[in-house]
């Protein structure tokens, strides 16, 4: 009888482990609808219906805004979003996720899809992003350039080399002739920002848009060598999209003057 109950306890605990694992797995993915479809009976000349846009995590704020603006300007349309790391989204699309548009944070991830013939048409660039040094508000450590980050006792956090922001970090290090010794190499730029925001780290290399998006929780320090690692954001229509006309229309809207205005306000550069 004793063992029976122990077995039950063990089973319950194992189930809990599995559940805990699940919650970790989905933590990085955010899914959101910019606005629920309301007036689909509207008589508009353009395409109507619903599309799902898979966009890089760094585009969450701007694309949510763009989606809502687009819906307002084009009655009868609904633009849904799934935000996650670009490589996560590529894996999902490769495994048949129902995406209509893919906006990547770098060209390497877009190339994975074009090579697999999963994108129809071209993949124009719509924005660029460069690195900036995120520091505590007021810059208490008086950091002015990359070289300052090598000072002893300074806790610097960067992205790990395999992720796009880490590759960019290596490029700017080479351009500046500086070797950083980070106390942590994070999996994503959001993790780097989080370490600086929480005061765990003194400085971190993130994108300009991350610093801007963090408001007054961090300050940004620009440095010359950031020009040597300009990240380009391409956008493309996923092959097999159920609403190609709307997918194309939204992609064009992102690259329009209105789209550029929203992106520039968030700190993105023109392509």
């Amino acid at each position: 009888m004793r063992t029976k109950t122990i077995a039950a306890a063990v089973t319950a605990a194992v189930v809990a482990v599995v559940l805990a694992g699940c919650s970790t797995g989905s933590a990085g993915t955010g899914t959101g609808t910019a606005k629920d479809s309301s007036a689909s009976a509207s008589a508009s000349a353009g395409p109507t219906g619903t599309i799902t846009v898979f966009a890089a995590a760094s585009l969450q704020k701007t694309f949510t805004e763009l989606g809502s603006d687009y819906e307002d300007a084009h009655p009868g349309t609904t633009v849904k979003f799934s935000f996650a790391g670009s490589s996560d989204l590529v894996t999902q699309i490769q495994n048949g996720a129902p995406a209509d548009v893919f906006a990547s944070a770098d060209e390497a991830n877009m190339t994975k899809l074009t090579k697999a013939d999963l994108i129809s048409g071209s993949t124009p660039a719509f924005a660029t992003n460069v690195l900036q040094i995120a520091v505590a508000p007021g810059n208490p450590k008086k950091i002015t350039n990359l070289d300052d980050l090598t000072a002893s006792g300074l806790q610097v956090v960067t992205c790990a080399a395999p992720v796009p922001c880490g590759a960019a970090t290596e490029q700017v290090e080479q351009a500046a002739g500086v070797t950083l010794h980070p106390v942590s190499e994070e999996q994503s730029v959001t993790d780097v920002l989080g370490k600086v925001e929480s005061g765990q780290a003194d400085a971190g290399l993130v994108y300009v848009t991350d610093v801007k998006g963090a408001g007054d929780k961090v300050d940004g320090v620009s440095f010359d060598e950031s020009k040597s690692a300009v990240n380009t954001y391409p956008i493309g229509v996923v092959r097999g999209s159920s609403n190609v006309a709307l997918a194309k229309s939204f992609s064009a809207y992102v690259r329009s003057a209105e789209g550029e205005k929203v992106l520039t306000t968030a700190g993105f550069g023109a392509p």
Partner: protein, 266 residues
């Protein structure tokens, strides 16, 4: 179980039971099917892989040790003290079971981070926890200890305290009762608690990433290495994941043999 008690299971029970089993087995087998065996050994024995595996085994063992030293007394208190506050305390201590690990990491950061109450005090005295291996062990202990506590507590409750009362009427002091009656009788629960705790610590990801960071050889455990490798090289990620599965199966297998031998299972 059924053969001992003499009651037969309903005829339809094996259907959902088999489905449940398949639900777990099929994904694991599918992952094994994806392993590129020609490069498996090279991928798994790469320096960064071995470093991550070694760090994982070491930190999980340390976390299990700490969880045992702190968790066993908790389990004894929870199973023996009659007070409604014990119920409240148990709910709090078992909270990490239901918390997403990332939240656990944020909580640890709030307390032991550089600007947290404990972490700030330690930082003033020259002790840094963040970004160290100690932070990994703390994150693992935080999420894994509840498994150990609840397993041991369960086994203590089932045993009851009759023999302990007899021992004390025969003149044994409380400490002697604890070490000669309570703990020996809870050994099966302690064994399964240790294994569950170790397995959970080994798989810890969210709290580690949030609280400890990720640096090869210092804080990048095997789950973090798998997550990172998946960005560039899914083959390596799958190969490393298989290593983690094998370690977990070995650990769980060891206990089921142990408890199976102890218990009159059939």
């Amino acid at each position: 179980m059924t053969s001992r008690s003499g009651t037969a299971a309903p005829w339809w029970l094996p259907v959902p039971a088999v489905l449940g089993g398949l639900f777990v087995v099929v994904p694991v087998l599918a992952m094994v099917g994806r392993v590129d065996w020609t490069s498996f050994v090279a991928l798994v024995t790469a320096p960064s892989s071995l470093t991550a595996l070694g760090l994982s085994l070491g930190t999980a063992a340390a976390a299990t040790g700490i969880a045992f030293v702190l968790g066993l007394p908790l389990a004894v208190v929870f199973s023996r003290v009659r007070s409604r506050w014990v119920g409240v305390a148990r709910a709090v201590v078992l909270l990490p079971l239901v918390l997403p690990p990332v939240v656990g990491g944020l909580a640890l950061l709030a307390a032991f981070g550089r600007i947290g109450p404990v972490g700030g005090f330690l930082a003033d005295h020259g002790v840094r926890i963040a970004f160290t291996t100690a932070a990994v062990v703390m994150a693992q202990t935080f999420v894994a200890m509840p498994f150990l506590v609840s397993a041991i507590e369960g086994s203590l409750r089932i045993g009851g305290d009759r023999l302990e009362r007899i021992a004390s009427t025969l003149g044994a002091g409380p400490t002697r009762v604890l070490f000669t009656v309570t703990i020996p009788r809870a050994l099966p629960g302690i064994a399964s608690g240790l294994v569950l705790c170790f397995a959970r610590a080994l798989g810890e990801f969210g709290a580690t990433l949030t609280f400890a960071g990720s640096l090869e050889g210092v804080t990048r455990t095997l789950p973090l290495e798998i997550y990172l490798q998946r960005e560039v090289d899914p083959d390596t990620a799958v190969a490393l994941a298989l290593v983690l599965v094998v370690v977990a199966v070995v650990v769980i297998g060891l206990t089921s043999i142990r408890t199976g031998a102890r218990a009159a299972w059939s």
